[in-house]
Symmetry: C2
Subunit: 421 residues, 2 copies
């Protein structure tokens, strides 16, 4: 793709640091960005943003979704969650607020974090309609593009746009005997909009308008998976793949316009289908960075979807997914609290670490080797330092921190048994 | 294998109920037991024990390790953990106590649970030596067999015996440049015993003596993996496979003696090696039930090893493991508390559910389908009933239980958006 001037400038400024962080040659990064297989998340209007690479062979990144709900509208609660996501090691956050003054919340979040911030602009648009006493899906095309432009100017680094939720895909949902229809909020609003107005999805029909705004701000498009399966049994049906085909076509058009693109992926996918889903989507979309939600390998674990998602996420990242959107223990049940956010980020980081270790990525391999060596040496400080969550290791060792063994084994410590001998 | 008379009698009594629970034909069960690919855990001396099938194609089972440590010797704390393991849905428990009066604790546990109870008799033997002021590894062959016989009489249903930790395997460890040597407590004690005495491992050398005791009580042998990798980088080395080869040989001898056998498996195994490990061990051991600890797909997640273990456990069970030993968040750090036990069992159950769904096992597939249908119907009670942890679902819904949507989405609920339309 022809890079846009803003992206060129960002690379000029940040390439050496990025290469160092990723332990990659500079040319590997520039080549991957040129090919569209890597994106650099950074909108220059986001003050002090930490430009962040997503895509092969950069390290797998983790996103945390936060934001108010129609029932819990306290911005300060969300800022706290933002800081907890950062403390847990998230690489990006999405503000999915739907309650309160969304413009103010978004500006506060942009000011509060250097991490790339993503949004779903349709939510802002829909919330305005609800506040005006109308239905969420009664938005207009102009209203939506204005919202997107406004957010781009505010400094939002990436946006989810459900461009592939077309009338054709919507008809396929109806005819496909799906158990769980549309489970994406943006997707379902778009389907309802299309059914009520008879119009095509404006994000699809007026895609060039979207590309124009995006290029101007180096706003990365995350092409949303509005047709993603919401139950394992729905994975891989016609509506899902129809949308991916559309996203592949839109990826090519974005690249031609110098706009960076990620593809969003599932969703609920049984264990035995994860490989086919991930490799299929990646191949179809010409290697564009893949941003997955889970995948959840079982539908039966509400309260523990961070674990079901970590199982799927580890497999997905091993098979080529680039960006893991966390799931928290609150998924499917309620708005996550701070503890949920922290737990969700950690679960996704474990999945990423496992996948990168399997892929032989040098930084991940070194971490696993070094912490194992520290374990062999019974060097607890080093173990804590190298762990994905150092404070947790120190906390669990607290009662016992002056002893060489742990409180489980004591003198029966297997390592010590043969070490002292 | 020629079944032993006790096993015959247990089957006569319990086969119809077992067939119903497992949704299997009775002949499938008797055939699998005859072939040694399924075991029935139940020692008639364990009053009211719930006979439990482990092995293909019975459902995947989950074990919880509990027990005192040299630092935390309160039996009542362990009985509480036992009940939490039961509440979380464990199918078996192992009493790995090493502190306090082990005989009394074991008897209390046997009386307190109908779940099959496993132990590592070497611990009792070793603790007696420590209490006598000697080193844990200064046990004698006679002392060990007496301990095993005593525990069999008490009603222990299965025991871990590190019969494959031979002098040859021990030499391989020394020559293999392992990062983490022997990480099994029983394994390391046995290695030290062999090095100090120059003797062969009595559980290997006098294996027939073990078989005699086992057959008398339908005590199932869980052939321990004392040489399991304790770091991902150690997975699949000569010492590990040498032990598996020995266990395969010992499996055949147990079958010839009418003794039921499970094989214990790893351990720390990187994601990309799980399939080879599981299928390799199962094949080598002629399909004997495989009991795995994790596997942990990364070494870097102390504090979250239940999640790293759930990733490996899901893959392992999908590839043929039959019995998942849980890992708790306390693994590698300290003795688990009640919360750890509950979290560990749940993580393993999620792994089992994901694997069984992928394998098309009818009960698991039905659960995923039914809970997804409940989700489509916004039927929260049914969702809770079908979830792996119903109380958790109810707890997280508490604030919001009278509303049709969850507290995350409210009027933006994707399901409702198109349902009311």
């Amino acid at each position: 793709m022809p890079t846009n001037p803003i992206l060129e400038q960002l690379l000029n400024e940040h390439l050496p640091a990025l290469a160092k962080t990723e332990a990659l040659e500079e040319s590997v990064i520039t080549e991957a960005i040129k090919n569209g297989t890597m994106v650099l998340l950074a909108n220059p209007a986001h003050k002090n943003v930490q430009p962040t690479l997503i895509g092969q062979p950069a390290s797998v990144k983790v996103n945390a979704n936060i934001g108010t709900s129609p029932f819990v509208e306290e911005p300060s609660r969300e800022i706290k969650k933002l800081h907890l996501a950062e403390a847990a090691g998230a690489h990006a956050v999405m503000d999915l607020s739907t309650g309160g003054d969304l413009d103010t919340i978004r500006k506060e979040m942009l000011a509060a974090t250097r991490l790339p911030l993503g949004t779903v602009p349709l939510y802002g648009c829909a919330q305005r309609r609800v506040k005006a006493g109308a239905h969420a899906a009664s938005f207009t095309a102009d209203g939506l593009f204005e919202e997107i432009e406004n957010q781009a100017k505010q400094g939002v680094d990436f946006i989810t746009v459900h461009c592939g939720v077309t009338r054709r895909a919507s008809q396929l949902i109806d005819s496909a005997d799906r158990m769980l229809g549309v489970v994406s909020r943006g997707g379902s609003m778009t389907v309802r909009y299309m059914k009520e107005t008879g119009n095509e999805n404006p994000l699809y029909e007026q895609y060039d308008r979207l590309l124009e705004i995006s290029a101007k701000h180096n706003l990365t498009l995350s092409l949303g998976d509005g047709m993603r399966p919401g139950a394992g049994v729905d994975a891989g049906d016609t509506a899902q793949w129809d949308e991916v085909v559309t996203l592949a076509e839109l990826t090519r058009r974005a690249w031609d316009a110098g706009v960076q693109v990620m593809i969003e992926g599932p969703g609920h996918v049984p264990l035995h289908l994860v490989q086919a889903q991930i490799q299929g989507i990646k191949q179809l979309c010409m290697g564009a960075p893949l941003y997955v939600l889970g995948p959840l390998v079982t539908d039966s674990a509400p309260g523990y979807d961070h674990i079901a998602g970590a199982i799927g996420g580890a497999l997905a990242a091993w098979f080529g997914a680039d960006f893991l959107c966390y799931l928290t223990p609150a998924e499917h049940l309620t708005l996550p609290d701070g503890k949920d956010v922290y737990a969700g980020v950690m679960a996704s980081r474990i999945a990423a670490q496992a996948a990168e270790n399997a892929l032989g990525r040098p930084l991940a391999v070194a971490r696993d080797l070094d912490i194992s060596q520290a374990r062999a040496d019974l060097d607890w400080n080093k173990m804590a330092d190298l762990a994905l969550d150092p404070p947790m290791v120190r906390h669990r060792r607290e009662d016992h921190k002056d002893r060489e063994e742990c409180a489980m084994c004591g003198e029966f410590c297997a390592v010590k048994m043969l070490k002292d001998f």
